[in-house]
Amino acid sequence: MSLANGGPAILVEGLTKSFGQVHALRGIDLAVPQGTVLGLLGPNGAGKTTAVRILTTLLLPDGGRAVVEGYDVVREAAAVRRSIGLAGQSAAIQEELTGRENLELVGRLYHLSWPTARSRALELLEQFGLADAANRAAKTYSGGMQRRLDLAASLVGQPRVLFLDEPTTGLDPRSRLGMWDIIRSLVADGTTILLTTQYLDEADELADQIVVVDRGVVIAAGTAEELKSRAGGDVVEFTVPDRGRIADAVAAIATTVGGAPHADYETGLISVGVGGRGSDALVEVVRSLDGARVVTRGLALRRPSLDDVFLTLTGHAAEEEDQSGGRRRRGRRRQVAGAS
């Protein structure tokens, strides 16, 4: 097609977008090579969905440039639409129609003939494990099945670039793993994917490259390993069951390890980056907590997760800002700089 030269499937330069006083995007740059997965990671309100909406021609940018499969999303929007698929945060399916009817409808709107639309629908239902439910109304589907049907609908037009906006938000763990398998198989077939997520493990599992956005700007980019190494190496983590002693624990370890501990005052979970000092630091932490007579549970040294990266980069947890819609909410973590 248009990208015989092997340029990036998605290229974004200096993209800006404001809604009144809210600056959703304040100059974002992205480059996604063909056949790879970019994980766009950030809390609610970071600008992830706005970026996806601009790249899928649903929203016009205020400034900057975005190119998908070589086509400018503003000037060549029609060509962009022929190259992409979009699966949004909710299942964009017609619940009164059956799974097959939903996919046939999309096929017809891609101007496939009836027989082609039907065979494509059956093929996708088979591929997504929905063949048995093909003739049932989509409203009888489980949440995971609805999301799979939605993803199948985004693939009817055989897109070269797929945008998945929080594809597993609200799914149970099993459906989530199933969705990951499907996404991996799409990548194996050469599809380029831009995936937004608030789940750091999801980006870790699926993405070749991760871009972390917060408040409309890119604050970090790299592979999961690169980002983890930026989090300051190993992490010592433990729980203080007595809520009243959390501040004491933070004060005690802040003087020994030097790093800034993160304390969750609801769950009593405290974590601190200890760089490359690993087990030495672990011993020091144990000693200072013992000296302060703080009782702990589950004290352990672990490799940093993307959660730690996020905390280090933004000073707040990935899912801290709650949003309506019954989204899973983790305990609030507060960064405690030094002694509290």
């Binding site: 949004g88 009164e96 129609l97």
Partner: protein, 268 residues
């Protein structure tokens, strides 16, 4: 990208016009299937007018005298006008739901004709309005209503009722897309549809209202359309009301079709 490539990939105007038609029909078909599969929609469309007919024919009707005729003949054109206006709620609600669920985002990100979602919705709703009007007329016949002005005026009344319903659907389409939340859309719908239909000649002669209310009731589109339909159904002076109705319909389409298209383009 060079211009040559994008030109080659842009289908000709004729192809695109063809797509606009087939896409509209595809969306129309989908909407009608959904309408037939949701019991609540059918009940809303068919049972509600029956309740109103029974209520006004047998409960309130006895206490409402109308000059020179039977109340049931006065009532039925009013019920038709009121029902198609209320029927437009379904347009607003469906579009608000599609917006919220991301269906409109999905469709807008596809290479289909962008006009088809709104056009298909309005074509399907016109069909829905037409069926509703026929049902109410049948119910009216069961409770004693009769056309007494000939077949052509009766057909003209059905046509006017359907076009009026389509016009109100355009307003509703705009509110549904602009507000984008099902409950708010419903609440807002009641705020404008209730006064328009009840402060009109639909159920009682306007002369019985206080003077300040008459000023509104006489000069608003629902009254003009219902008076025209009444004249078509049972006879009476028609010309002024028909011209006023046509003027109102033209204004509504001219204002709300562009507004609805704009709201669809900006939908988020």
């Amino acid at each position: 990208m060079t211009a040559a490539v994008s030109v080659a990939l842009t289908p000709s105007l004729r192809v695109r016009l063809g797509w606009a038609v087939t896409d509209t029909l595809t969306i129309t078909r989908r909407n009608l299937i959904v309408w037939m599969r949701v019991p609540a929609y059918l009940v809303f469309t068919l049972v509600q007018p029956v309740i109103f007919v029974v209520l006004f024919r047998y409960v309130f009707g006895g206490a409402i005298p109308v000059a020179g005729g039977r109340y049931v003949d006065f009532l039925m054109p009013g019920i038709i006008g009121q029902t198609v206006a209320f029927g437009s709620f379904a347009t607003a609600i469906a579009l608000a739901q599609e917006l919220k669920k991301g269906v409109i985002d999905r469709l807008r990100s596809m290479p289909m004709a962008r006009s088809a979602v709104l056009a298909g919705r309005l074509v399907a709703d016109t069909g829905r309005m037409f069926i509703t009007v026929l049902v109410i007329i049948a119910v009216g016949y069961a409770v004693g209503f009769r056309f007494s002005n000939g077949v052509l005026p009766a057909l003209a009344m059905v046509l006017l009722a359907t076009v009026f319903g389509l016009a109100i659907c355009c307003i509703s389409a705009f509110t549904g897309l602009a507000i984008g939340d099902e409950e708010s859309v419903q609440a807002f719908g009641l705020i404008w549809v209730f006064p328009l239909t009840f402060i009109s000649s639909a159920f009682v002669p306007i002369a019985t209202m206080p003077g300040w209310l008459q000023a509104f009731a006489k000069n608003q589109p629902v009254t003009n359309v219902i008076d025209t339909m009444r004249a078509m159904a049972i006879g009476g002076p028609i010309e002024t009301n028909l011209l006023k109705s046509i003027a109102w319909l033209v204004v509504i389409f001219a204002v709300f079709v562009p507004l609805a298209i704009r709201a669809y383009r900006r939908a988020s």
